[in-house]
Point group: C3
Chain length 302, copies 3
Amino acid sequence: MALAAAVRVPASVLLRAGARLPGVALGLTERVDGWGDGARRFGSQRVLVEPDAGAGVAVMKLKNPPVNTLSLEFLTELVICLEKLENDKSFRGVVLTSDCPGVFSAGLDLTEMCGKSPAHYAEYWKAVQELWLQFYQSNLVLVSAINGACPAGGCLMTLTCDYRVLADNPRYCIGLNETQLGIVAPFWFKDTLENVIGHRAAERALQLGLLFPPAEALQVGIVDQVVPEEQVQSTALSAIAQWMTIPDHARQLTKAMMRKATASRLITQRDADVQNFVSFISKDSIQKSLQLYLERLKEKKG
Amino acid sequence: MALAAAVRVPASVLLRAGARLPGVALGLTERVDGWGDGARRFGSQRVLVEPDAGAGVAVMKLKNPPVNTLSLEFLTELVICLEKLENDKSFRGVVLTSDCPGVFSAGLDLTEMCGKSPAHYAEYWKAVQELWLQFYQSNLVLVSAINGACPAGGCLMTLTCDYRVLADNPRYCIGLNETQLGIVAPFWFKDTLENVIGHRAAERALQLGLLFPPAEALQVGIVDQVVPEEQVQSTALSAIAQWMTIPDHARQLTKAMMRKATASRLITQRDADVQNFVSFISKDSIQKSLQLYLERLKEKKG
Amino acid sequence: MALAAAVRVPASVLLRAGARLPGVALGLTERVDGWGDGARRFGSQRVLVEPDAGAGVAVMKLKNPPVNTLSLEFLTELVICLEKLENDKSFRGVVLTSDCPGVFSAGLDLTEMCGKSPAHYAEYWKAVQELWLQFYQSNLVLVSAINGACPAGGCLMTLTCDYRVLADNPRYCIGLNETQLGIVAPFWFKDTLENVIGHRAAERALQLGLLFPPAEALQVGIVDQVVPEEQVQSTALSAIAQWMTIPDHARQLTKAMMRKATASRLITQRDADVQNFVSFISKDSIQKSLQLYLERLKEKKG
């Protein structure tokens, strides 16, 4: 994993970056030995970590209500939490799930992309890249227990996992629906989806911005299993148990071999990808339509 | 789309090339405003264009009887028609279908490859490349309404589309059957098929020159839908309506992102690919077998 | 096939290499004209070749009891046999099957990787590479009649074929199960599997070291057909008959086009791949676990 080691920006750098922003209070606490009440002490303000001592598995619950929007702070906390689990040898696997009813994650935070400075857009986009790089190249086994709607950036997160279990609820759709909002999924979102469902299905899904309801999601292969809602987490834990039977070293090298080319594509184009995002999102037309969208969203809620 | 813009040979160049050939009479007419009887005025001798004003969709009917063979003139007309639709902002999508009963297109025109000069072979092959580049990289939504047999070059045309609807008639087979004729599909035919049905299925289909009847075509994924014959065009129009709901700019950038690598492979090797074709097709053995094949075809008809 | 011609190490080189090892007695006999009793005279000690004169097909039976382990000698014989068939114009196709009941091939020979010198490991690995290069790029049609368990290296052999028929016996599982033994399939094993079952299925199968029973093997596409055990060979012969209907030249060029990129990846990294294998397998930890595994295997048998 020399590659992974070389390219990962340490979370501390992101933290420093985050610290420049008002309102960022990560509230990370150090891990304490003895897992009795560890669930609350590990993790952060927006990420609950519930460790299963015996199994070597932790359940990471996304808790950024109401819809787990991936704000800059939330992205940073997610990356730090995963990094801590990665560095803690008592863990070999993570189940990713949501603590917000009905939503796994609504995806990227549009307020981070609207009415801010180019420097802010750049910082935000680096954090999105960092999340993907950290999760996609994780040495841990990652399994998604998708217990809610899972569009766009939420979908991207689950696509970085090794296995995906979706709750059988017709409202829990999953997909990269960027085009429906008039925006374009970056190439590494595309690569990740293509690796999972193949070129043809990805081409159609991305162009149409498809959100797949459970049965279709299973058929196209964007998730691996669909189960009744109350069994999502237990099924994910059963699934991860199978991965736990494989010697870590061999599994990790195999995973790295499968994903190296895809990760390298972003790594070598990271700065250009940021520039690309900033110049796109700074456009007047895009800013106007985002503002309109956000205003409508507020009215809807209000 | 800087790429697409840079690599497209303007149709006018092809036109001039075509003008050197005897018998080429494109008969293209300019578009006139007011679509009342536009169907006949737009398009060309061999391509009927039936615009649906409201929907922003045009139906392009291939009309090069008896079997829509892709002669040099026909290729040129197809490219020009698409280019005109592409440049006409009232259109966002095209349904491609056949006006020749029982055949979508019999594919490349063997008479263009037999008993002619190397210069002619080169010119012909450039026109085939041009068709593929223009169609594969089109900013329009292209949907095929496959209402007849669809082998070889005919299949290639439909593979460039965004969606394929096939009539449920056991005689309407689709596939790249080149090896059955003793010839080899070029790498970009292969790439296009592989992008649609995956590596394994493409390897088998190409080696065996498989022509898939409707049920198999659907199963292998070379078409997206199979419907009763009388519903092919209406189904294609319904399908394209879904694509029309997506903002053009986002959809076009997404499509370009999906197809850029494949298109670039031909673009960078275009001349070598022409040379390769010319030297292959000029071989005595290939010329003899083509002649034999054409003579048999004549006898069959006669 | 200039590529293939350029990169294939002649089997005679391998033979000379093999001749340095004690206990290597290839016992290859020259082909004699007249196929009456050719079956026993062609082939070698460990590879039975049963020619079907009329069909242009030979059945190659792996006979290295008890489980067709791919020892250095066996690998060498397999490569030489295929090379002879390749050079013999009376053959156009080969059905690959096992003469050892219940096992197609147990895969690589762990005794070749344990307690030997680095030079031996290097020699052994070159022979594994050579087998793959020769089989994957063969101009012959190769069809596997998988009449027994088919893990690891055994699976790799069948993945090089053009078509795979598996006997419907729940004990006949197939897959690249390397991670289950704590080792990592090399990148070209991965590439070969990915070309057959796609990226996502390969990622999961390789990480978990999955061995697919027949129904699952068919579903994931790692085999093309599952038939009752007594029909495996006859089905393979029927399948190969379809491939025989295609003109060789066109089929071979098509096959080469499909596989060139994958083969080239190993060819350009061949030495590095050997070094990589030698340094991995020479590690104390790996040697210890292999020794332990082999001792347990002996006890089990004893």
